[in-house]
């Protein structure tokens, strides 16, 4: 019964999305207020019914109703309660319900918070959202219905993939989807603006907070996935340049570019067409990521199912959305002229270069990800593009971006003084040079690591320079500096956080990639091994039962100079239902480095495979990402997004040909 209510709710939501996607567009065109305001009630209705569907699905999971096929395939009665909840999105059908729910959530948020939007723009934005929702609801109901029944009902389920039974992964999909789907808002705003033929600074001011929100969620979601891979896969790595990782990384790069170009569009009324294009491309990459991951073209823990019908549907949807939006762009964008002018050496110029580098970097990731697929389709030759490709292309494209990120915020709008900026950065330059010298003296190499850490130091020193200038550190009393810091615009504070976080993250990634010490051997109980100045003794191995698995747990004593520092308990679990193993690494962090121990299969001679890693600076990756997310959230609380309606400029839309000519 509950499952049928869920199914029915989805169908009602679909019919509402049909209304939301059409009538408000007509209303905005005919200037019919009742039709336009229908968008808000339709958005509210969609949210209510999709929430109901999601609740029904959750209910089926929590009560272990195995007559529902989706629950049977992905759950088991012995599974801990939290994983009954998270199993809802640990499979294709359920994750699509989550996707449309988040889309509906953004819809109702626009309807509720966008009271200061001009009615026609709001109606159009919500209509585009409705059309996207319609596409996904049709997809869901036609190819991926989570509420299908099984008759007779099986006694128990097939359980969730044990790799996904993990707290870190419980929140990875929702956060990632908040990010992916959040880009649909920027997309809808872009398409609505193209229909209206008007992009002004107020438009950019509306787009930016939504992009910030989705960027923050995307950052958190990606890093949570990376963290999970680090401790769960037992390989000591945090990023594998796996196509599925790339699929989430590309929209992130686009969202980052969009965040920066929207600043120019808002403050300087320039780069408007470009901003619209980025908004379209950002969401297109989200959709493409979904297509790649869900179509079964890529092999990973994310490919829940390889169903060609789904792949074809998403591909078709992708072509309609991207093709439609880009055609609209090609038709309407040339008529929209920017009014803000600036010189190449200026804040705007720096942001343009930022955008070019981010887009180029994104293109290199795209090529590396799609090349094997394209080559296979054309010639049937199967190749793989591994981390070395991305390390020697993407990383080098990003290096100048990081160099620039320290200088850009110090540049003034319109026209900047290179010499002046250079002088202000002299201390930062000194600190970076000193770091390089110290690193060469202490570590000696590899030179890529030294370069990477030097660049990261340069960025954080640049951020510190900019921040202390803003609060007049050492130039006024410390107390009044604090006062200044308190009343800094939140967007400036957020930027400092995000850039500093990026620097810390880069330092972490560089250290982890270059200075990792790996030691893998068979150990018997009582045996010791020395790694990175620590002695590791396998003192005991025990076997016990968890809620739905048997665990083999090693006890590893860590000593330094004869003294016991810590005891780690790495585990290997065998899940009963699916019969598969998972590795639970044990990690001790000093915030400068991680000591990482994982156990593997037993050896016939009686020992146990033990992997020990010494991972310098890895904790900084998580710390840096967290600071970036905090920066994004701080920026979101900027008062300009809260207080007062953003004033729309009085500039006429292009529907008035005379006015648009006089603007040129």
């Amino acid at each position: 019964m509950i499952a049928e209510i869920g199914h029915l709710s989805l169908i009602i939501a679909l019919s509402l999305s049909l209304i939301q996607g059409t009538l408000p567009l007509i209303g905005a065109w005919k200037v019919n207020v009742p039709l336009m305001s229908m968008s808000r009630s339709a958005a509210a209705g969609q949210f209510i019914f999709i929430s109901l569907a999601l609740a029904c699905l959750m209910y089926c999971y929590v009560t272990s109703d195995f007559s529902v096929k989706n629950v049977f395939e992905n759950s088991h009665s012995a599974k801990p309660l939290i994983y009954k909840f998270t199993a809802v999105w640990g499979n294709h059908e359920g994750s699509m319900v989550l996707w449309v729910w988040i889309l509906a959530f953004y819809g109702i948020a626009i309807a509720g918070l966008g009271t200061n939007l001009p009615p026609s723009l709001r109606a159009r934005v919500l209509a585009i959202q409705g059309l996207i929702g319609m596409g996904f609801l049709v997809f869901l109901i036609a190819t991926s219905n989570p509420f299908l029944r099984l008759d007779p009902a099986p006694l128990n389920g097939r359980d969730l993939n044990p790799l996904l039974q993990d707290p870190g992964l419980a929140f990875h999909p929702p956060l990632l989807y908040f990010g992916y789907v959040g880009l649909s808002v920027a997309f809808s705003f872009a398409v609505a603006a193209l229909i209206e033929g008007k992009i002004d600074p107020a438009w950019a001011r509306w787009v930016r907070p939504w992009t910030l929100l989705s960027w923050s969620a995307l950052t958190a979601g990606i890093i949570l996935g990376s963290w999970w891979a680090y401790y769960e896969l037992g390989w000591g790595g945090f990023w594998f340049w796996d196509p599925v990782e790339n699929a989430s990384f590309m929209p992130w790069l686009m969202a980052t570019a969009l965040l920066h170009s929207a600043i120019v569009a808002e403050k300087r009324d320039a780069l408007k067409n470009w901003t619209v294009l980025l908004a379209i491309l950002g969401f297109s990459l989200s959709l493409m990521g979904t297509f790649l991951v869900r179509s079964g073209m890529l092999t990973s823990v994310h490919s829940f199912a390889a169903d060609p019908a789904r792949g074809v549907f998403i591909l078709g949807f992708l072509i309609i959305v991207i093709g439609g939006a880009l055609s609209l762009y090609a038709w309407r964008a040339p008529n929209m002229k920017a009014s803000g002018r600036f010189r190449p050496i200026s804040r705007e110029g720096a942001l343009v270069i930022n955008n070019l580098l981010l887009v180029t970097g994104c293109a290199s990731v795209l090529i590396g990800t799609l090349y094997p697929l394209v080559l296979d389709a054309i010639s049937g030759t199967k190749v793989s593009v591994g981390p070395p490709f991305f390390e020697s292309s993407f990383v080098w494209i990003m290096a100048p971006l990081i160099l620039l990120a320290a200088a850009g915020p110090l540049m003034s709008w319109k026209r900047a003084d290179v010499l002046g900026v250079g002088q202000r950065l002299i201390v930062a330059f000194g600190i970076a040079a000193l770091t390089a010298i110290l690193l060469v003296a202490l570590k000696g190499g590899p030179w890529g690591a030294i370069l990477g850490l030097t660049i990261a130091t340069w960025l954080i020193a640049g951020v510190a320079t900019e921040f202390s200038e803003r609060i007049k550190l050492f130039r006024v009393s410390f107390l009044s500096s604090l006062q200044r810091a308190k009343f800094l615009p939140r967007s400036a504070l957020g930027m400092s956080f995000a850039h500093a976080g990026l620097a810390i993250l880069i330092a972490g990634a560089v250290g982890a990639t270059n200075w990792q010490i790996e030691n893998v051997q068979v150990m018997k109980i009582g045996e010791s091994v020395s790694v990175a100045g620590y002695d590791f003794t396998l003192s005991n191995v025990t076997t016990s039962d968890g809620p739905n698995y048997t665990r083999q747990r090693g006890e590893v004593l860590i000593k330094k100079g004869g003294k016991i520092v810590d005891t780690l308990y790495p585990e290997k679990r065998k899940y009963w239902v699916q019969g598969t193993d998972t590795t639970e690494a044990a990690i001790r962090t000093t915030w400068l480095a991680d000591i990482y121990v994982a156990i593997g299969d037993p050896s016939p001679g009686g020992g146990l495979a033990v992997r020990i890693y010494y991972n310098p600076l890895v904790p900084w990756i998580w710390l840096g990402a967290l600071i970036m997310v905090i920066g994004g959230i701080i920026s979101l609380t900027d008062r300009k997004y809260r207080i007062g309606a953003p004033k729309r400029s009085t500039q006429q839309s292009i529907s008035d040909p005379i006015e648009s000519h006089s603007n040129q």
């Binding site: 002018r341 793989s384 070395p388 494209i397 068979v522 495979a609």
Partner: protein
Amino acid sequence: MKRKHKRMLFIGLGISGLGIAAALILLAFDDNLVFFFSPSQIHAQNFSSDQRLRIGGLVEEDSVIREDNSLIVHFNITDLSETVAVTYNGVLPDLFEEGQGVVAEGHMKNDSFYALEILAKHDENYMPTEVADALKESGKWQGSETKK
């Protein structure tokens, strides 16, 4: 600087940036492409021992032998018409199992494959597309092997 010049400058910057990026990408492609072969394809041609390649198929039943007190593992990868002997010194991934799909990266030496990396990141219901294609090519594909 005039508007037109400014635009030219940006376009120029963009193009040169793209050019450098394209060069970087092509250079990176040159060294870092790893080709994939099925056991039948491996037997059909010769490989020099310094060519890095991937092979994929199923782990042959009852072929996994672990050496005493070391991490060295021997097993056979099969596409059900040909098999290749594989030697690997390391810890096998959690999803490695006899009868399941596997992809190994490494090089051929004296008719056996020395793996540097074993990939089995897929879940147990799912076959890597490369492996599925290799099985289809050898005519041993059974649809039931992808249950989901």
